[in-house]
Assembly symmetry: C2
Homo-oligomer: 144 residues x 2
Amino acid sequence: MAANSQFAMAVHILTLLARKGDQNLKSDAIAHSVNTNPVVIRRVLGQLGHAGLVASQTGASGGTRLVRTPENICLVDVYKAVSCGEVFALPTRPASQDCPVGRNIESVLCNLQKAIDRSVAEKLGEFTLARVLEMIDTEDAVAA
Amino acid sequence: MAANSQFAMAVHILTLLARKGDQNLKSDAIAHSVNTNPVVIRRVLGQLGHAGLVASQTGASGGTRLVRTPENICLVDVYKAVSCGEVFALPTRPASQDCPVGRNIESVLCNLQKAIDRSVAEKLGEFTLARVLEMIDTEDAVAA
DNA sequence: TCAACTGTAACTATACTTGTTACAGTTATG
DNA sequence: CATAACTGTAACAAGTATAGTTACAGTTGA
C-alpha cells in the first residue's frame, strides 16, 4: 500500500456512523466493515474528531458518533480533516537561482497548486455525507 | 522526498525548452536549472516524448526541443503525460461484502474520484505553457 | 574514429503508509 | 468497587514509491 487512502477510509467510516444515528459505534465494528485493524480506524477517527466531525467516548460501551447531521457534513470538511496532501508536489530541492526560470518557477507552481486545490475543494463542496448515503442506497437497490 | 514532483519538474523543463525555441537543449543543461541529475530529467523527458510534447535527438549535439508551440501545450497535457496518480487513493483491500456500506462504497468513491479528476483536468486546461512563460517573466520583472 | 549525447537498466537511500502489538487511561455495569 | 470493555497513542515491522546515482549500450556530428 502506497498512496494515502485515508480520505476513502474516512468517507466509509462516516457513512457507517451516519447509519447509526445517535448510537455509538465501536472501532472494532467499523474495522470489520472496512476490513482493516481497529487501530487504523481509531487513527482516522482521531483526525475526524479534531476536525469536529465526530465525538468519541472512552470506557465500556464507548465508541464514536457523528457530531453534525449528514446533511451538514461536506466532503471538503472530510478532505481537509485527513489532509491528503496536494494534487501535485512542489520541488523539494530549490532550483538554480542563476536561471530566470529556476528563480521564479516555484512561486508560479505554488500559485497553480493553490488554484487546483481551490478547484478540488469546490467540487468536494458539492457533496454532502447525506448525498453519499443516498448513492450507497441507490447502488444497493440496483444490485438487488 | 516522498510525493510525486514529476509534474512540477515537467513544467519546469517545458518552460526551459520553450525559451530555447527550435534549438536542442541538453539534459545536462536542464538538470542544472532544476538542480538534479540528468538521468532524472531524461526520465521525465521520455514521458513527455511519449505524450508527443517534445522530441529528442540522440548523438553529438543532440538534445530535446518542443514539438508544439507553447500556445498549443496545455498543462492538462503535461499532467496526463506524467500521470501523477489520483487526488485520493481508493481502498486497497476490499471492504466487507456483508455490509451494505462495504458492498457499495467502492463504486461511489470511484465515481467521486472521476468527478474530482475531471475538475482538476478542467482547471489545468485553463493554463497553457505560454501563460506559464508569461507568469515567469512577470515574477522576474517584479523581483528586479 | 572519436567525442558527445540520449535511453534505460540496476541499485541505493529515504520516506511514507499501513498493519500490528502493547499498554495506559477511562467508564458502564454487575 | 472490581472488572471487563472501550479509546488513545506509542512503537515497530513490512511493503512500496520516488529520487538520486552509476554504468553502459546505441546514435550521431565533426
